[in-house]
Symmetry: C2
Subunit: 218 residues, 2 copies
DNA sequence: AAATATTTTTAGGTTTGTCTAAATTTATTT
DNA sequence: AAATAAATTTAGACAAACCTAAAAATATTT
């Protein structure tokens, strides 16, 4: 399936908003693609028809599997071009994003394949963001406790260090288990406590003692 | 001034048709940009308004100075990208044109500047066509007699070898002088004679003896 | 739970670039 | 020079992406 530049931009933005927010709202997206809410509704209807997003009127939406794959292809292009612009053409760090915004919409798959080869299959772009490979997979940042994980990104609980009954009781109370997706909103230097958000549950603040035991992957 | 991909394609095509044909007709252009004549008329009105073409209803049209400059910028981009695709990314000769058709519309001027630098300011693309420099100038093929010049390209008379009265009389009859633009339509192997076309004048066939004395630049 | 505010959708328009079909102009034949 | 053919323009439509303003649905306050 082929997509217009406009469609691709919407898809990409939904992906990025989802990294931080599980479900995406119209206003968020309108702001991200720099249009009005009414235009977003039009596009959502179209993307829904093409099975790119899970959409129900008035509800937040998410990318389908297909949508996700497409988003990753666009992001792969963007980040490979950024790498090229910085490392081959000698652009400055601040200049590359805008140009890559245009280059990411060049359709040729062969071009990206050759470019990737030429650049030596880099895994991270100049901003440190991972470059998805041709299958949409990227190097996963190894697991880390939520005392060190990046903020505002959706992460998945991958292991619990202290498995005492007391700890399990606490985790149960907060509805945290292996596979739970959460977002680390904030860390307080004062006492090392961590504010986390799990979808459809109230904000929770965990003490450093607890947080140290919860490991996640990005 | 900024141009849409569509406008750029029209401008580029007009340029190329002009290389071979002094004035361009709607049908020619329609075929070149792969649309219908009615769509061409619409676009011509727009380009005329933007002072890109010299246009009068029902008449053939040409690029203005401005239009020419814009065309050369697009062609510069196209040819630099072709050079890059072949010499850096290792694409095959036949694959590069189509991809360059997309890349030529990337707007960033800085990108082309850096790319040119990266490639070492090449003067010819992989097809042997000259790459205009940033001012729209390209290496002029040195002058050659019309017995050897490429066919179907508009060339300008730059010198006459034999300046005898007899020759000058003949040239006067055909309205040929320094600066005259002509197109070499055909060469006949049989006797080395050359058919040329000068705008608004009938076809003329010159003997090899005469043709050898007329030198032009591309 | 009622009132207010916010978000989303609908309705109706605009612009760009395309189309078909018909009218007009220019070019070519006879 | 009249008739025919070809090229060009006009008229009227359409799809994509956007817009504004108003209506409807959901969220938040009080």
């Amino acid at each position: 399936m082929k997509f217009s530049t406009s469609e691709e931009n919407y898809i990409k933005c939904i992906y990025h908003l989802q990294e931080v927010n599980e479900g995406v709202s119209g206003t968020q997206l309108a702001q991200a693609v720099n249009t009005k809410a009414a235009s977003v509704t039009d596009m959502l209807r179209k993307l829904h028809l093409k099975k790119i997003i899970n959409y129900r009127p008035y509800k937040n939406f998410t990318l389908t599997e297909t949508g996700n794959k497409i988003a990753l292809e666009i992001i792969r292009k963007h980040r490979l071009w950024e790498y090229f612009l910085l490392n081959k053409l000698g652009f400055k760090w601040e200049e590359i994003h805008e140009i890559a915004e245009e280059l990411e919409h060049i359709s040729s798959g062969a071009l990206i394949h050759k470019l990737d080869e030429y650049l030596g299959h880099p895994c991270f772009d100049p901003h440190g963001d991972p470059i998805p490979d041709k299958h949409g997979k990227f190097k996963i940042l190894k697991q880390a406790s939520i005392t060190t994980l990046p903020l505002k990104k959706i992460v998945t609980v991958s292991s619990i260090k202290d498995q005492s009954i007391q700890m399990l009781e606490l985790l149960k109370h907060y509805n945290i288990s292996l596979g739970t997706k959460m977002k680390v909103n904030k860390r307080f230097d004062f006492d090392g406590s961590v504010e986390i958000k799990i979808d459809k549950q109230p904000l929770a603040i965990l003490s450093e003692q607890v947080a140290k035991n919860i490991f996640c992957i990005a």
